[in-house]
């Protein structure tokens, strides 16, 4: 492998990202520009941007790696990440857009009208955001190592710096364009090489199929506790998507609730095209790069395949292309996460001391630095599994908050708070233990590695029970809020006076001529 090609690829993606970001710099003016691009983004660009932001290191590298290592059961990761958008579509997309909330804490505040619940939601956004960021930085480290032989921390630092430059300079407007571009880059970067590999494999007379006939790899549900683990994974991915901070903030960029639905279907289409590809890399990896399983380096399979299957200058070109796609994945997901975490931190924790834009920049820097530190000390779980754990926390907290908040009038502030604390506390305890390499035997061990099937029903139960016990404390503007969430926008009805920029705790006025 020639390091030059890989270095050039990474530099090109980085430069393109920063250039498009700089283009956005000229139009970012106010706080709402930073958070949500002022809703001036077209539907195609918006759907591509959502796809680009969502397809992270876990999708680009991790899925293929897990399929190489574990086989059929891992097919549920990409299926679940796509189905999560369908669940989001049917329960959350239009009402969330109609709520007018920028962030999940905004939604919590609007619906249950309590600052305590809002703060709990803010803490959870930061927690989920950081859990999701760590594997992105980790993926960047292993990619740069595979491309150039540099130590793992170099890639993590590069991604952190580029994301910060981009986010701090332009905010959401610039990353919307960056991410729309990165979806297509990621798709082409996977599609082109795999087409060649399949032709080459076919031309060689389809060798290596013997390695695919291993029962515990090719057949699902062969390991211990397999049924529990599979359903827990399904629950986490199907229900977790709606609770991811960087996904939710995107809905504000749609014109109205109807557009939010249509954009979500477009996203389903884009994800469906993309997720056909990573499993093919996993299967070909089984044939050409089986030694990665033995070395525990399965997350690199996407990057290793070109040199194993083709080699020569064409192989180098494909390695560089895949490296570029992988870097696009880290940069786009990390940017989205840093923006949404920084939005929440600056709004709820820093806004009484600094003005909007300065608080946002400070919070972004803080988020990236903390994540970088955690990446260097975490135990290096498989990238896709680490990301899925962030989904488990989201499914155990924001999923019940959104579903009950939108569809059940009975949700009260104390009930919501109790559910967030119970579901969030237990799931994040399990997830943190797993991320730092704690493991246990038997059923307890299975629950630790995939907590969702236990913590999601628990969180729902606590929220419902808590709300029933505090029935007298229904929010004052509940009826207007329900009208706001469900009535189409063109009807002139009283939807209450909620506006995210005005309701925040001691929020300052918009900065006038900043940036």
């Amino acid at each position: 492998m020639i390091p030059i090609a890989g270095v050039v690829a990474v530099m090109v993606v980085t430069a393109a990202t920063l250039a498009i970001g700089a283009f956005g710099l000229r139009v970012s003016r106010t706080t709402s520009d930073f958070y949500v691009a002022s809703r001036s983004v077209g539907p195609v660009a918006n759907a591509s941007a959502i796809g680009g932001e969502y397809l992270s290191a876990a999708s680009f590298l991790g899925v293929a790696g897990l399929i190489l290592a574990r086989g059929a059961d891992s097919l549920w990761y990409p299926v679940g990440w796509t189905a999560g958008y369908l669940i989001l579509l049917v329960f959350v997309a239009a009402p969330l857009r109609r709520s007018g909330a920028y962030t999940l804490p905004d939604f919590a505040h609007l619906r249950v009208e309590s600052l305590h619940t809002r703060r709990a939601a803010s803490v959870l956004v930061v927690l989920i955001g950081v859990l999701y960021l760590v594997p992105q930085f980790q993926g960047a480290g292993l990619t740069l190592r595979a491309l150039t032989g540099a130590p793992s921390w170099v890639g993590a630092v590069v991604v952190a710096v580029v994301v910060l430059l981009n986010v701090v300079a332009g905010g959401m407007r610039s990353i919307t364009l960056v991410q729309a571009f990165q979806y297509w880059l990621k798709l082409v970067a996977l599609l082109l090489p795999i087409s060649f590999f399949l032709v080459v494999w076919d031309g060689q007379g389809s060798p290596g199929t013997g390695r695919l006939q291993v029962t515990e790899w090719v057949e699902p549900l062969t390991g211990p506790h397999a049924l529990y683990l599979t359903y827990s994974l399904i629950l986490a991915t199907f229900l977790g998507t709606m609770g991811l901070p960087h996904v939710v903030v995107r809905f504000y960029t749609n014109r109205d609730g109807r557009a939010a639905r249509r954009t979500t279907v477009a996203v389903l289409g884009l994800l469906s095209c993309f997720y056909l590809l990573p499993p093919l890399y996993g299967v070909l990896g089984r044939i050409y790069a089986f030694d990665l399983v033995r070395d525990g380096r399965t997350d690199s399979v996407v990057l290793e395949l070109p040199s194993r299957v083709i080699g020569g200058p064409l192989g180098d070109f494909f390695t560089a292309l895949l490296g570029a796609g992988a870097f696009a994945a880290f940069l786009s997901t990390s940017s989205g996460l840093v923006v949404s975490v920084a939005g929440v931190v600056s709004q709820d924790l820093l806004s009484h001391r600094f003005d909007g834009v300065a608080a946002f920049r400070m919070a972004a820097t803080l988020a990236a630095t903390v994540t970088l530190g955690l990446t260097l000390v975490s135990s290096g779980l498989a990238v896709a599994h680490a990301v899925e754990l962030a989904f488990a926390v989201a499914a155990s907290t924001f999923c019940p908050l959104l579903l009950l908040g939108i569809w059940w009038r009975g949700l009260t502030a104390p009930g919501a708070l109790a559910g967030l604390v119970a579901g969030g506390g237990l799931s994040s305890a399990a997830v943190t233990a797993t991320m730092f390499g704690v493991s246990a035997q038997g059923w307890f061990g299975a629950v630790l590695t995939q907590p969702a099937l236990v913590t999601v029903p628990l969180s729902f139960t606590v929220m419902v029970a808590g709300s029933l016990l505090t029935r007298a404390q229904l929010p004052r503007h509940l009826s207007q809020t329900m009208v706001r969430l469900h009535a189409p926008e063109h009807l002139s009805l009283d939807r209450g006076s909620y506006h995210p920029e005005k309701t925040t705790v001691r929020r300052r006025k918009r900065p006038s001529g900043a940036v």
């Binding site: 059929a72 097919l75 579509l89 049924l227 979500t264 279907v265 499993p279 009535a487």
Partner: protein
Amino acid sequence: MSHGAAPPRRERVTGPRRAAGRSRRMSVPSEIDARTPLGEVYMQSLVRSQLRLAVGVVLLLACTLGALPLLFWLFPALTRLHVLGIPLPWFLLGFVAYPFLLVVGRFYVRRAERNERAFTDLVDPQ
């Protein structure tokens, strides 16, 4: 001349009807805004129809995609079937699942927009 003829006509036509209309009923939007029992019924009908649709979609998903692990676990022979040379679980989860999700999504959007049109016709018939 016409000035002299107009006032009596105005009295006869608009006066009594306006009073009767007011006492009989308010417009649907103001029923909703004033949170009258009737207004709440209108809102609930919208929320219920959308919730029924959403729950229907989730049940469909649970009985198809969601039932696969249970089926494979109860009937392991299924996992050894092949379609186009590909083992059944790989075929279903690697290829069929995606177009299926997309079709269900499109179906949902059509039905959800239809529910909203019905609500709009009820609330604001113009």
